[in-house]
């Protein structure tokens, strides 16, 4: 359960500033390694700063959700939740410029399907993607190990969905004065969707998030579940009640402030990203292709950060596909 999980022991932050600090350090590390010969102003113009990165990641989170919603066979909520968790965790440790988010996105979903035992074969999976399927399969398989490594191989994620069900059952059993908590479901679902775009999942425990969802939904329908919380849940621990109230308040504030970035800003940022991204990890770049070709010919070993595991056939087809796409 959550209290003994790796999620609690290794992937939690104290508040939003901590999360931003972690992202900032990843950003700085990338910029200082790539832009060693630039002045501060040049760097600012060339590279993305933390806020821009955050907007980009948020747009990619929306894309992930869309992808999963259109997924065939229909993907359960907890798989989407796990995939979003992985994406968030990955980009807390790494900069957006370092690894292309589109590739990491599909890899996160693929890994989440595996971990949450939602069995999808690779063929079925890439059938949901547009474009060259073999290339996509090669990309996913190449990035999978990298993703796992950046997650420290701690793949179990506790999502708020099961605590939500538990709280519903508990409310129905121990708090019968509140008639039909199922009425709150639509509001709850919407809240939980939004909460994944915030950093709340990295700061608060999933049961607190689901309780916040219930409270939010109740207040929007002008109901009151405070009695449940004070009398039944926290009847013995009044001081912890204050702690929880604080947490719930903060979560609701975070969700209220969620704002999808504007499409034009995103387009501009993507253009900038294409210029300043790390060519070694970007499968579109000529440096990468050259490296892959080298590896295919000579079978050398690789430096850090690159984990090609595609077989020679896949690499060949990838190169063929890439060279056909455009003579770069």
């Amino acid at each position: 359960m959550f209290a003994t999980s790796t999620q609690r022991h290794f992937w939690m932050f104290k508040d939003e500033t901590d999360v931003s600090n972690a992202r900032l350090s990843a950003n700085i590390k990338y910029i200082s390694s790539r832009g060693r010969n630039m002045t501060v102003i040049e760097r600012e113009a060339h590279f993305l700063n933390v806020i821009e990165e955050k907007s980009l990641i948020m747009s990619y989170e929306y894309q992930l959700r869309d992808f999963c919603r259109k997924f065939h066979p229909p993907m359960p909520r907890y798989v989407i939740g796990t995939a979003l968790h992985y994406l968030k965790r990955f980009y807390v440790n790494n900069s957006v410029m370092d690894y292309p988010p589109k590739e990491i996105l599909v890899t996160c979903v693929y890994l989440a399907c595996k971990v949450e035992e939602f069995n999808v074969s690779m063929d079925q999976f890439v059938g949901n993607l547009k474009g060259d399927r073999e290339k996509a399969a090669a990309i996913i398989l190449n990035n999978e190990l990298l993703l796992m490594q950046q997650l420290d191989y701690q793949l179990t994620v506790h999502n708020p969905f099961r605590p939500l069900e538990g709280l519903m059952i508990d409310m129905k059993t121990r708090f019968p004065t509140f008639s039909d908590p199922e009425r709150l479901r639509p509001g709850i679902d919407e809240f939980l969707e939004q909460v994944f775009y915030t950093d709340a999942i990295l700061i608060y425990s999933p049961s607190q998030i689901s309780l916040a969802a219930i409270i939010h939904s109740a207040s929007t329908s002008k109901e009151n579940v405070d009695e449940y919380i004070t009398k039944i849940l926290f009847s013995e621990d009044q001081k912890r009640l204050l702690n929880l109230i604080e947490a719930v308040k903060k979560i609701r504030v975070m969700v209220r402030n969620v704002q999808l970035p504007h499409r034009d800003t995103i387009k501009a940022l993507e253009k900038k990203l294409a210029l300043c991204c790390n060519p070694d990890n970007n499968s579109e770049s000529p440096a990468f292709k050259k490296r892959m070709k080298q590896s295919f010919d000579e079978e050398e070993s690789f430096e850090d950060g690159q984990y090609p595991s595609a077989s020679s056939d896949q690499v060949r087809s990838m190169l063929m596909g890439l060279s056909e796409m455009g003579k770069i």
């Binding site: 959550f2 700085i28 538990g166 059952i169 508990d170 702690n243």
Partner: protein, 344 residues
């Protein structure tokens, strides 16, 4: 490949005669058989390459292409006769490894003639100190060898028995056929009945016999079964006498007895009701009932209800803490990075 090996003395003979056998001596040099004979016919007894004194019986047929390897194999056999301790003789793995290292050092020194005086001293010291253990190990080894031999013999005996039985069965068959034929002839000669009917009845009789034969053969052959145990349970033969039974049982320290401590779960939240009480508290009214297929597999509603409640109530008391690793490192490294940025 054999043609490449030349006898260093006569040089030519080896090329011409691939059947020639190289012998190797104690100092590791090779000589072909005829040269060896020649050398000792003259009675000289010195190695043509290194001039160390040799004895005729020290020449062994070379097993390996490289005479150095043969020399090492020989030395190793000799040394291991003395240094025959096993892992069970050492209390820790480390000590066993140290012992093995010592043995290898000695062998290495002897093969490459490094510091022979010291090495020999080491060997003698070891021999003196470990005479009894060496002896015991030798006995144990010889016992094990004998046991292995016994097993092999038993197998061989079984096989020969089977072969005998088979041969006997064949003989029996032949005899019976012969008898049947003779009986037929006798009847034809001496009885008054119709010839055809006699032949027909005989054919029937042989058919009936043929059916019985496989049944008899299918019965398990009762050969002499070697018993391995006395009726009281003691094992016959050396298998029962392991050397361990002669050693006293090592004394166990008086460790404290194992006491069961129930695991304590820290839910970090209000305690959920225990799974046994869920029915009484009427939780199941609000949960989907298990269908027959699920219940047959052992699933009850209590399980999912309990799990959901645990997850719901667990973590409610959690207050935000920083546990992520890079955020801690960032505070150290960001100060360094800002210095770098200032200098450039």
């Amino acid at each position: 490949m054999d043609d490449y090996q030349t006898c260093p003395k006569c040089k030519t003979t080896k090329y011409r005669n691939p059947a020639m056998v190289l012998m190797v001596n104690a100092c590791g040099h090779a000589l072909c058989e005829s040269c060896v004979e020649l050398l000792f016919a003259k009675g000289s007894g010195a190695c043509p390459e290194c001039k160390c004194p040799l004895r005729r019986n020290n020449f062994r047929v070379q097993l390996f292409e490289d005479p150095a390897v043969d020399k090492e194999v020989d030395i190793r056999k000799r040394i291991l006769k003395e240094f025959n301790k096993r892992q069970e003789d050492f209390p820790t793995l480390r000590e066993y490894n140290d012992y093995l290292e010592e043995v290898e050092t000695i062998i290495f020194n002897l093969v490459f003639d490094i510091d022979p005086t010291n090495t020999n001293k080491m060997i003698d010291n070891y021999k003196k100190e470990n005479k009894d253990i060496t002896q015991k190990n030798r006995n144990r080894q010889s016992q094990e060898e004998m046991e292995l031999e016994e097993l092999l013999e038993a197998e061989k005996a079984q096989q020969s028995e089977k072969a005998n039985l088979y041969v006997n069965a064949e003989l029996e068959e032949k005899k019976q056929k012969h008898k049947a034929r003779e009986k037929l002839i006798d009847e034809l000669m001496f009885s008054d009945a119709d010839a055809k009917s006699i032949v027909a009845s005989h054919v029937q009789a042989t058919a009936a016999l043929a059916k019985e034969q496989p049944k008899a053969a299918a019965q398990p052959s009762s050969g002499v079964v070697k018993s391995s145990k006395f009726s009281s349970g003691i094992q016959i033969g050396l298998r029962g006498q392991h050397t361990n039974s002669f050693l006293p049982i090592p004394k166990q320290e008086d460790l404290p007895l194992y006491r069961y401590t129930a695991p304590v779960f820290d839910y970090d939240g209000p305690p959920p009701p225990p799974i046994e009480k869920l029915g009484k508290l009427n939780y199941f009214a609000n949960i989907r009932a298990a269908n027959i297929a699920e219940r047959a597999g052992g699933y009850t509603e209590a399980m999912s209800c309990c799990r959901a409640l645990q997850e719901a109530l667990g973590g409610l008391f959690y207050s935000p803490q920083l546990t992520h690793k890079t955020a801690v490192l960032a505070t150290n490294s960001s100060t360094q990075d800002t210095d770098d940025m200032e200098t450039t």
